[in-house]
Symmetry: C2
Subunit: 460 residues, 2 copies
């Protein structure tokens, strides 16, 4: 249904500018840099050429069909622009303009006119008061600069009511290795709403995991039914804000929706199998975790470290979250001791956590052999290592290890520093790369929960 929104053959930028620092100029430049392969039509009442492209005074002057209009003009001009889009038969309009429904009576009036014009001509609206959409695979991106997000397509979809949340996820998530299928900044949602986007993403073959930032949920019951249906097919992570009194106040003046009572939402999300993220870091960790091709079949975690202290900290974090860190069987411990004979000192623990002790500087081969032996007794493996994370070849080795054992592997740097880009390398290899032990444990716990959701559904 939204295919030509994300994969348009032709795009008009209404309010295009020669000045790339203005929104309408930035959009043209980003689309050019993002290597959009369709036809791009800058719309500007006075310019004849913008960034090497022929410009047109109105969308009505464009010589062919327009799939998508990106609207970046002052609010009072938006109704006319959408009128034109309706007359032209434009499929979708992404309205970046602010100063509509969120500003009081005058803006609401403008917004009604926009909606009416859109309905007349069958134009579907994203926004207004939104930051745009991004579909790297199609070369479409009006949200952030091309430097901040990979132009390579991925499998993570995101719908964000807040532009800030959307930009933040794109930028910080990209650093952590996330690659996106479709991202929508949904804004005021006067036409297309969270539910529309979620329905589309649920059946989008490119999307393997869906996340949403939302402040209010108008039709709570409908949303939960949808969330239940989606969660049976793919993970749905919801970052819901505006839950506190002051938060609700912020939301009221911001996107004019009402924040529901919070605890109820948490329970309801759980019941339908949706996953709640409390903040951006959690959201990113969870999305990285679902990038791993394996789900843990149970809650038993094996911890392999190169530092004893890290083993204790990791075990604490796991047990705090209801994960089990089972002692390894005598036989397995013997096997590990044999493998590690002459490598680790006799005092190093091999019962789980297994402590390779940094002084041994274990070869990757030894680390992998240990992991393989441990993996038989657990459902997931957490490895804390001094190996540099930004190394593609080590990441590829670890990916192979994960594939061989067929269980999720989380990687945490022993030095929690300067490693964000390094984490991204591992994440792109399908490993659950997290900056700290407690965050890796939390990511595991979410995978365990989601596996239960799928199992309950199969058995229910």
């Amino acid at each position: 249904m939204l295919d030509s929104l994300f994969y348009p053959s032709s795009v008009a930028v209404i309010g295009a500018s020669r000045d790339a620092r203005k929104p309408g100029g930035g959009f043209v430049r980003t689309l050019l840099r993002f290597d959009f392969q369709g036809r791009l039509y800058p719309i500007n009442p006075t310019a004849s050429e913008i960034m090497g492209l022929k410009a047109y005074p109105s969308v009505l002057d464009v010589p062919e069909r327009v799939d998508l209009a990106i609207v970046a003009i002052p609010a009072p001009s938006v109704p006319k622009a959408i009128d034109d889009c309706a007359e032209k038969g434009v499929g979708f309009a992404v309205i970046h303009s602010v100063g509509l429904g969120e500003v009081g009576l005058e803006g609401k009036d403008l917004e009604s006119k926009v909606l009416q014009a859109a309905k007349t001509g069958g134009v579907r609206i994203v926004g207004p008061n939104c930051m745009g959409i991004c579909c790297p695979e199609a070369g479409i991106n009006t949200i952030v600069s091309s430097a901040d997000v990979s132009s390579e397509g991925g499998s993570v979809a995101f719908v964000g009511q807040s532009g800030w949340a959307t930009e933040s996820l794109l930028i910080a998530g990209s650093e952590r290795g996330l690659q996106f299928s479709k991202v929508i900044s949904s804004g005021n949602q006067i036409d297309l709403s969270l539910s529309d986007y979620l329905e589309y993403l649920a059946s989008d073959a490119k999307t393997k995991v869906i996340a949403a930032y939302t402040e209010g949920l108008r039709d709570g019951g409908d949303f939960l039914e949808l969330a239940r249906a989606i969660s049976k097919k793919k993970p749905l992570i919801v970052w819901k804000a505006g839950k506190s009194q002051a938060g609700a106040r912020a939301v009221a003046s911001h996107t004019a929706s009402l924040a529901g009572r919070d605890a109820i939402w948490s329970t309801a999300f759980k019941q339908v199998g949706a996953i709640r993220a409390q903040h951006l870091d959690e959201l990113i960790d969870f999305l990285v975790a679902f990038g791993c091709p394996y789900l843990p079949k149970g809650n038993r975690v094996g911890i392999l470290t190169e530092a004893g202290g890290g083993g204790a900290v990791a075990a604490d974090a796991c047990e705090d979250l209801g994960l089990e860190v089972p002692a390894l069987a005598e036989e397995t411990q013997r096997e590990l001791r044999e493998l590690l004979q002459g490598i680790i000192p006799p005092f190093a623990g091999v019962s789980n956590p297994v402590d390779l002790v940094w002084i041994t500087d274990p070869s990757l081969h030894v680390l992998e052999r240990c992991a393989t032996i441990m993996s038989r007794a657990v459902d997931a493996l957490l490895i804390m290592t001094y190996y540099p994370l930004a190394d593609e070849s080590i990441a590829a080795d670890m990916e192979k290890l994960q594939r061989n054992i067929g269980k999720p592997v989380a990687i945490v740097p022993a030095y929690p520093t300067k490693q964000y880009r390094g984490l991204g390398v591992y994440a792109r290899h399908g490993l659950i790369a997290c900056p700290t032990l407690d965050r890796a444990a939390r990511a595991f716990s979410i995978l365990v929960d989601y596996n239960k959701t799928l199992q309950n559904d199969l058995s229910g």
Copy 2:
């Protein structure tokens, strides 16, 4: 009591090597690079010169008094080395060597011999099985490479039972702008123990905040009494691991101490006014927070953002932690509206959160004026901004703002990315710079708690 441990006039490196990749070589190099101003004596049975310094076969051959011996030789040779130290009258020996008390009967036997020799000659021991000490002000550092920690002294002290935890805090904390007074990796603690270090740091004028990573606490009652006494003078933050079953197992094979029942510790810490950090990120956030020269006098937080979504998220995080985000009085709101006339659109919230809306790109002056007006109604200010964090001049302006309002100011980047070094710039200016809104809120809540501890103490 430990003055000549941290400010030695002369240091001998027992096991010094020409090879900087070996511990004994690395220590000499790091001390040279860290600009240690005292005399440095490499001890090596065969070398006559190491890195340009005259080397001696034994500490007994050093021509003057030795305040501090750094011991980096295999475990079996340690008792003899400490015998020599005792005979020489060395004040302190930091024993990096592993394979002593932590490795079973044989190691315990070596350890007893070391202790006996030390006692005979009055040598006080740090370690063994430790990563060393760091006192940047004195040019002393045997923990991490000189690239990872500022050689400028600071006011943060840390005692870490785990070498990994100690290195991690030094490296990740330095990135966040922490500067250290004294850092000790305490290892097996056969002589000097956590309590000894804490007592010294409590009365050390250079140290304004103390943190410790500990796995077991042998004399729990004594520790709590000490913690109570310290907390009256300066904040004490404890990161205690080994609390879970598996964590306790990891600890048992690691530093041979017993992890107590965890919930009891949390309650006890609270009772004595000590602050518990659950993981490294929290510990660093709290230390950054205590770098701010102001404590909040109450729990009211003002939130000033350049993004509405961020306001909602911040308000949620504050209220979740028991902080209040009070609506501003009508009069204050009117004052803000007047100031922001023509700058922010009429829909932007000014009731707290105050939303400057990113599109306005507010001048620093406007941001500061807003903060000043808001500050009258609250005890602390949380500012989320698109201003670049790594800018010294903006950081200096913000520091001035904080000084003028006399209340703690937290700064969070609106784009949570590539900002760790930027955060450090702000933190060194005394601002509570945190990577995310929820972490800033948590840092505030700790300051509020600590202020209560001090007040209760004054009134009790």
